[in-house]
């Protein structure tokens, strides 16, 4: 990676894979890439395209920036289909194209209490956020997950934050988790901000409870993306104003009340 670039703008770079490390289950892995010069914000994401993809798959794949430091850019990935499967089989030293940072990311000030709600892979954008937060004691972290907790980088979260995780293996657990979410959202003090990321059913619940108790909640959405830069209009989210807006460029983070979940 030798390009001279402006760190304040997104760019498309060619980087090497420094390493891949598997989490407890072979379906989860951390991808470490050459560091990028970007000034990015938690909740922003990148598009990845390995060199060998040629024409199939035709699209790159979007991933949250999990953690970024001087040594590497880290992405936390679950294998769910062909693209993530192909990425998981890449070798260190091989190259890929990466562009970003994309999207808006989460906004908050360092002295704001944060209630972070993450479901499954929704933990990804929060790892770096929490680890680099100047006041981790202001963070309360609620994490719902299906697989063994060892699959996720939950243990990395600062001990100074209050951290709760709840595994869901059946319908009863899901209700428990929903009860917990409702309670946490209700109890969350004025002046604090709720940040959420996870699967759509989870976000719907968060939206509902935040609305009920009139809380300042933000959520990061996942949609299939082709371009990632706002050009194709394939990833749109319906907003309360009645318009479809690009999730990639207007989001992926939205104010909870602005999102209309269709169907």
């Amino acid at each position: 990676m030798k390009q001279s670039i402006n760190p304040a703008r997104p760019s498309c770079l060619k980087v090497q894979i420094l390493g891949i490390s598997y989490a407890r289950s072979g379906n989860f892995f951390h991808l470490y890439l050459e560091p990028t010069p970007w000034e990015s914000r938690p909740g922003q994401f990148v598009m990845l395209r390995p060199q060998g993809w040629d024409n199939d798959p035709i699209w790159p794949r979007p991933f949250s920036i999990c953690e970024k430091n001087d040594d590497s850019l880290r992405i936390f990935i679950q294998i769910v289909g062909r693209g993530t499967g192909l990425i998981s089989r890449l070798q260190p030293g091989s190259t890929l194209h990466i562009w970003g940072p994309l999207g808006n990311g989460f906004q908050f000030s360092p002295d704001m209490p944060l209630l972070i709600l993450a479901g499954g892979m929704g933990i990804a954008p929060f790892v770096g956020l929490c680890k680099s937060h100047p006041n981790p004691e202001l963070i309360r972290f609620i994490f719902g997950h299906r697989m063994d907790i060892g699959c996720y980088p939950f243990a990395e979260l600062p001990p100074a934050s209050s951290r709760i995780h709840l595994q869901q293996t059946g319908q009863a657990d899901i209700f428990d988790f929903q009860r917990l979410l409702r309670q946490e959202i209700e109890d969350c003090p004025a002046g604090s901000r709720i940040l959420a990321c996870g699967p759509t059913p989870f976000l719907k619940v968060v939206q509902e409870y935040a609305r009920e108790s009139v809380k300042d909640a933000w959520m990061s959405l996942e949609n299939k993306m082709a371009c990632g830069v706002g050009a194709c209009l394939g990833c749109v989210t319906m907003t309360s104003s009645g318009d479809y807006v690009q999730t990639c460029s207007h989001g992926p983070v939205f104010r909870a009340e602005d999102v209309v979940f269709e169907e």
Binding site: R9, P10, S11, C12, R49, W53, N55, D56, P57, I58, W59, P60, H97, W99, N223, K224, A226, C227, G228, V229, G230, A231, C232, L233, G234, C235, V236, M238, G242, D243, Y244, S249, E262
Partner: protein, 303 residues
Amino acid sequence: MDLKVNLGELSLKNPVMTASGTFGYGLEFTPYGRLEELGAIVVKGLSLKPRKGNPMPRITETPCGMLNAIGLQNIGVEKFIQDKLPLLPWKKTPVVVNLYAQSAAEFADLARILKSEPGVGALEVNISCPNVSQGGLQFGQDPSAAAAVVDRVKSNAGSKPVIVKLSPNVSDIRAVALAAESSGADIISLINTLGGMAVDVGTRKPCLANVFGGLSGPAIKPVALKMVFEVCRAVNLPVIGLGGIVSARDVLEFILVGASAVQVGTASFTRPDKVFSLVGELKELADELEISSWEAFRGSLHI
């Protein structure tokens, strides 16, 4: 070699244009390359009024391609002229406005609005969108309906060159091309997407809310190349070829069968800097293959 090319009145510094709907309003790509280095910028299809587009999901991946059913979501022609056009480098690179309307009269209105905009280099009449219930294929599949639309646009477009964009979803694309030519089109572009569909056997639902979508990407390149070849032999107008272009070699293939310029669509999703890098690669490859001029190479396929 000088990459410059003239499509009648429309002069391009190189034959690489973007394809409508795959390059937004152009500004989305400014972080990834210099817009003024492109042959031309073709923006998302614009209609008289803003359009909301189709419900989600709108896109799905297919082998070496994709389906889309965006439904022509756009901000409307007025807002484009006000908010986007002034930010585009139209003095250095022609900006082509792709037009969508549901009737010949609406097409005429669009042309009238755009004809006096100095920032607009040409109009591209989209009579080939498969993803809208009205005004797409009904013009593109019927030579006389196509001719009527072209005629109306042409007589309202002033001196702006009019490009007519053809649909591949026909038995014989030459018939529509000839109709467009005889009603005054200045340039022909082809192909738009092929009609297609994808389903999910798990949920038993179509992958697109619109059920049908338009197929694009490398998968369709052989179909596009054949139709461009056929149309180039049938008409006397300059032709812009597109469909599945991802490399400089692909660009040359379209020129070899007779195209004067090309558009790059789905490839801009593989990498946002793709279309920019194609210009440089094209120059290199043309030199490597000892192509002395576009005039000498264009349509020089040995049959």
